[in-house]
């Protein structure tokens, strides 16, 4: 057994001992979750079932709400406790990558690829194919299966067959002989996006941005005694904005060689962009650290119970 293996074996055994102590020796335990049973239709809490003859067991619409361990109606939840443990172990699997690439990390990575793809498909199935397509094409079927609140006066709109057929044509790409038909839905999506973006980008990101840059370079403002004085702070700010935008735009203008005056102006543009990227870096750091804080809060609060947030 080499030094590294010995170190990790000791760490693992120490971790297990700590978890055992924390589980058995503390009131909060490790990752213990409690719930109360609630009748979804009435919102009332159902007392814990005492036996098969209990009336509460006849309620079909029982949902489980998280509860404190001290709540007299609370019951221990196996699925949520197991969930917290699995989430914690997967969190540790991902963190293990910091030491070195390993099987645990790859396992978690493989799980997330499958789960993410499945999640997107399921969500879009219910939210689009059922909530939109089925309701439009067969409202009665929707009403008697998944969406009982669909109004009775809704009539079928068979025009919706067109996008369904168009969408299904995407799968033609898998068959070489008719692969060309797969271009039709693609063209529809590209055309819609192009048409939508053309006006929106022109309006919000070009015209409005140009307009926001047309600023007075010398700003006067009225003071308390209504006398107009030079607002040097605002004037400097406006001058910097105008010069910075113009120099950056010059830098992005590649039809002219960046030499002489153009070269000097575009160099100023690069400096402005560098300052902008420096600020982006600092703000990105802020976001990532917050995320790390959240994960550690999960491990030390929700799972280990070492702090109470």
């Amino acid at each position: 057994m080499n030094r590294e293996t010995r170190f990790w074996t000791v760490m693992f055994l120490g971790g297990c001992l700590f978890l055992a102590f924390q589980s058995l020796g503390t009131a909060r335990g490790v990752g213990q979750q409690f719930v109360v049973r609630v009748d979804a239709t009435t919102g009332k809490i159902i007392p814990p079932a005492t036996g098969a003859s209990d009336a509460s067991s006849a309620v079909k619409t029982v949902i489980y709400e998280p509860a404190s361990k001290d709540d007299p109606e609370a019951i221990w939840s196996f699925s949520r406790t197991a969930g917290i443990w699995i989430a914690a172990l997967l969190t540790l699997c991902i963190f293990s990558y910091l030491y070195r690439d390993n099987v645990c990390y790859k396992l978690a990575e493989s799980i997330i690829v499958g789960v993410s793809a499945g999640y997107w498909i399921v969500t879009n199935f219910w939210e689009v194919l059922v909530a939109k397509v089925l309701v439009k094409l067969a409202p009665n079927v929707a009403r008697y299966s998944f969406l009982p609140d669909t109004p009775v006066d809704v009539k079928a709109d068979y025009l919706y067959i067109v996008p369904v057929v168009l969408g299904c044509m995407v799968f033609c790409r898998l068959i070489p002989k008719i692969a060309w038909m797969g271009r039709w839905p693609l063209a529809f999506v590209v055309g819609t996006t192009a048409g939508l973006k053309l006006t929106s980008f022109l309006d919000a990101d070009f015209v409005r941005q140009v307009r926001s840059t047309i600023l007075p370079l010398v700003v006067f403002s009225a003071n308390a005694s209504d006398v107009s004085t030079l607002d040097w702070k605002q004037s400097i700010q406006n001058i910097v904005i105008v010069i910075s935008v113009l120099s950056c735009v010059t830098y992005f203008y590649f039809s002219v060689e960046h030499k002489g005056l153009v070269g000097r102006i575009s160099r100023v543009g690069i400096w402005v962009l560098m300052i902008s990227f420096g600020a982006s870096f600092a703000l990105t750091v802020m976001g990532r650290i917050t995320l790390l804080t959240m994960r550690l809060q999960f491990l030390f609060d929700d799972w280990l119970g070492l702090v109470r947030i």
Binding site: W120, A279, T290
Partner: protein, 294 residues
């Protein structure tokens, strides 16, 4: 010229840096050190707008984020929702992220369910707030609800027809909203709400965004964006303002998640600054070592 310390620092294993970062973030968590913030003008503007709007104003709460950005945006979503509830505005929750729906449900439960679900002026579903759920189509969905919400989705997240909900009467599109409040993690998000709804339809919008996305949105402020709440700092600022104005719900620290993340933020930033300075110190020392000296 050789220096054993410099050689050691040059060959420093990056895992020591990882350990330092873990300790910098973990210590404030274990010691429960939080941090308040002095509000900045873009955050104050959103706060003041929600205060200024008359009671019962319609506010579209667009929650476009997922677990990867929840650390910054979930505390914001809680604060925005709590503030609107304290002012008794009507809330229309919506998301254009498939992963955003659980975020909406969690926000509703943590704020409306826990603190505004009972009492004389309890928030009632369909009357005071509605969950319009997930709208597929990214930016196209925003364009759709800008002209007709029912075209984008005829039912709410529970499957109830929008026409059956009292608070939806008279609401045809986003144009009927008094304010759009967006918690945005990226694409589609704040930028798209500005491009496809706020700017063409002239609807006031304020965005709470991640630190990463904030620089993208700065050019829109203040002409096209009413307010901009940036990252965890913005979330702490908003909580600080809410705590100052409405102290009661904030007596409990668990209702200030951003505040509790502020301490870790502070220590991690100190470490980052230290690492940059140290890294450049090593760089300069190496350059000095390589330069021939007479």
């Amino acid at each position: 010229m050789t220096s054993p310390l410099l050689n050691k620092l040059n060959a420093l294993d990056r895992r020591w840096i990882f350990l330092a970062m873990a300790l910098a973030v973990l210590s404030p968590i274990l010691l429960q050190i939080g941090s308040d913030e002095t509000p900045s003008p873009p955050t104050i503007k959103l706060f003041d707008e929600i205060e200024r709007l008359p009671e019962g104003s319609r506010i579209l709460m667009a929650m476009d984020f997922d677990p990867t950005s929840a650390a910054e945006l979930y505390p914001m979503a809680l604060s925005f929702t709590r503030h609107c509830c304290l002012r008794h505005h009507k809330l229309y929750f919506v998301t254009i992220w498939p992963t955003g729906k659980p975020m909406i449900e969690s926000t509703i439960k943590a704020v409306i369910g826990a603190d505004f679900g009972s009492g004389d002026r309890a928030y009632q579903y369909g009357v005071d707030y509605v969950n319009l759920g997930y709208l597929a189509g990214d930016a196209v969905a925003i364009s759709q609800i800008s002209s007709d919400i029912r075209k984008a989705r005829p039912q709410d997240a529970r499957g109830t027809s929008l026409d059956e909900l009292p608070m939806m009467s008279g609401v045809i599109s986003v144009k009927e909203m008094d304010l759009i409040v967006n918690a945005s993690a990226g694409f589609p998000g704040g930028k798209e709400w500005v491009q496809y709804a706020a700017t063409p339809k002239k609807i006031p919008i304020a965005v709470g965004c991640t630190g990463v996305q904030s620089t993208q949105l700065f050019p829109y402020y203040p002409d096209q964006l009413l307010g901009l709440v940036t990252g965890i700092r913005g979330a702490i600022e908003y909580e600080t303002m809410l705590a100052a104005k409405y102290p009661d719900p904030y007596a409990n620290r668990s209702k200030r998640p951003a505040f509790l993340r502020g301490g870790a933020q502070r220590w991690a930033h100190r470490l980052m600054i230290g690492l940059i300075v140290l890294g450049n110190g090593i760089h300069l020392a190496n350059r000095y070592r390589r330069t021939p000296h007479p």
